[in-house]
Amino acid sequence: MSSRCLASLLIFGVAALTLSACDREERHSRSKPVGETVPAGESPDTIWPGGSVPAALDPRAKLYDNNAPAISQGQQLYMQMNCVGCHFHGGGGMGPPLMDDEWRYGGRIDQIAASIAEGRPNGMPAWRDKLTDDQIWKLAAYVRTMSGQPSKDAVGSRAEGMSTTTPATLAPREPAHSSDTAGQ
């Protein structure tokens, strides 16, 4: 075997090992054990007085953020649960837009999950008893793709239906307000 052939095999092997280390496809078909409610039962704060420390990110966030199956299933739920009816495909209509950098109740994944679970004033219904925790987290993971927050290798490259917006893989990452995200 020539050294060139050997080198290409080596590169291929290293690439295969590197790719297998990616966890963008991590699946968990069953939701978390019963009793573990979505975002810990209370809203994470969105405003912190000067100097105080914001609440830590919910540990479950890393199961859903940057997770391709979770994001694509969240995308299906976004259509099925008619989020489109008010928020459109992120552009907003009756409800606020989800593709910009403005977050009234926080743009962190656990804050978005809390907003979906609890509902918010002026029209956003509470979904806690209609969707499971797992589904709410998946929806939150998808909502973050509209402002380009997750990494580009995890988001879906095409919409489920006809789309007039920029594909999620090309969407620019919107800088979120520092007071909302507190460095997250």
């Binding site: 078909s29 939701s31 299906q76 649960m81 008893d129 969707l131 499971t132 589904q135």
Partner: protein, 341 residues
């Protein structure tokens, strides 16, 4: 010892043919006009091709056995082989004629089979919309009278002798409609309409199956087709149009309350109740169906318990989430679902 695997291979076609239990799901089934035509066409093709194959093999054997004549050693190289032998000349013409007649015969047989299937499609008497989902079938019976339009799931009822047009759609990926005893296959392609026409000829229960790999639970995407008399069909339709009965017992009332206000109603419709989700199968007459979860399990109390409590252990990856009902809620929900006859 050496013979045994060979015998097993020879027996395989017969064994797979025997798999068809009373033509429940059989590729040799002939319960509809379409499969009858296909089977006839298949036999004609098989007979013509078998005769031609036997003739070719016979000529080959004769050619191998024939002794070369020394005086004609070079006629092949000259390219004047046929001229040197008048019998060969006639034989080649006859052979070409046989091939021509055989092919024309096959084309005619295929044309008539096609034409009779197309005429069935033009005479449709019943229109059904069948939508493929991961991993279940959404069924809608259409009627000129909008109040008679009927939605159900994973089960088709068809009247004997009536041409039925099934319009095929898909909500997610490519599926394929295949009821071996009746018709198919025909693909269901997202964003594109396709259809298939069936004229059922024999009453009975037939099993269909998605025939295009569509994801992790592709194997659990079955469709039950009941072919019944026209009177029974109308009776079934009228029954399915009825809304779900109001729950009477305290247990079923508790189940009704949970199902119509809890997470179930976000995805499922139950006619006559506030539950109006369109994401999952219609449950209005769930307990009247033969199976749960698109043929995954037979309908029954124990299986309903298992399915409602943890669908992800029965059919991992399906889109019904494990909600984690408390025992009291589970008893109530299953008791209520069992009233949906």
């Amino acid at each position: 010892m050496i013979v045994r695997p060979r015998a097993a291979v020879l027996a395989l076609p017969f064994l797979t043919g025997a798999c068809s239990y009373q033509h429940y799901q059989s590729i040799y089934g002939n319960a509809a006009a379409e499969t009858q035509q296909f089977n006839t066409l298949f036999i004609i093709f098989l007979a013509v091709c078998a005769v031609m194959y036997a003739a070719v093999i016979a000529f080959l054997i004769a050619g191998i056995g024939r002794r070369r004549r020394s005086t004609q050693a070079n006629v092949v190289e000259d390219g004047r082989h046929h001229e040197s032998d008048p019998a060969m000349h006639v034989g080649l013409r006859a052979w070409a004629a046989v091939v021509g007649v055989g092919l024309v015969g096959l084309a005619i047989a295929s044309f008539f089979a096609d034409r009779s299937m197309a005429s069935a499609a033009a005479n449709e008497k019943l229109s059904i919309d069948l939508t493929g989902n991961q991993w279940w079938w959404d069924v809608q019976y259409n009627s000129a009278d909008a109040s008679k339009t009927l939605r159900t799931a994973n089960e088709l009822y068809l009247p004997v002798g009536v041409p039925v047009r099934i319009n095929l759609h898909s909500n997610d990926v490519i599926h394929s409609f295949w009821v071996p005893s009746l018709a198919g296959k025909q693909d269901l392609i997202p964003g594109r309409d396709s259809d298939i026409t069936i004229v059922p000829k024999k009453s009975g229960i037939y099993r269909g199956q998605c025939a295009e790999y569509c994801g992790t639970q592709h194997a659990h995407m079955a469709l039950v087709v009941n072919v019944v008399s026209y009177a029974d069909f109308i009776k079934w339709w009228d029954h399915q149009l009825q809304p779900a009965p109001a729950p009477a017992a305290p247990l079923t009332q508790a189940g009704y309350k949970y199902v119509t206000t809890g997470p179930c109603s976000a995805c499922h419709t139950i006619g006559g109740t506030p539950a109006g989700g369109t994401v999952g199968p219609d449950l209005t007459h769930l307990a009247s169906r033969r199976s749960i979860a698109a043929g995954t399990m037979p309908m029954g109390e124990g299986n309903l318990y298992g399915w409602v409590e943890d669908p992800q252990s029965v059919k991992p990856g399906n889109h019904m989430p494990t909600i984690g009902l408390e025992p009291a809620q589970l008893h109530a929900v299953v008791a209520y679902l069992e009233t949906l006859k």
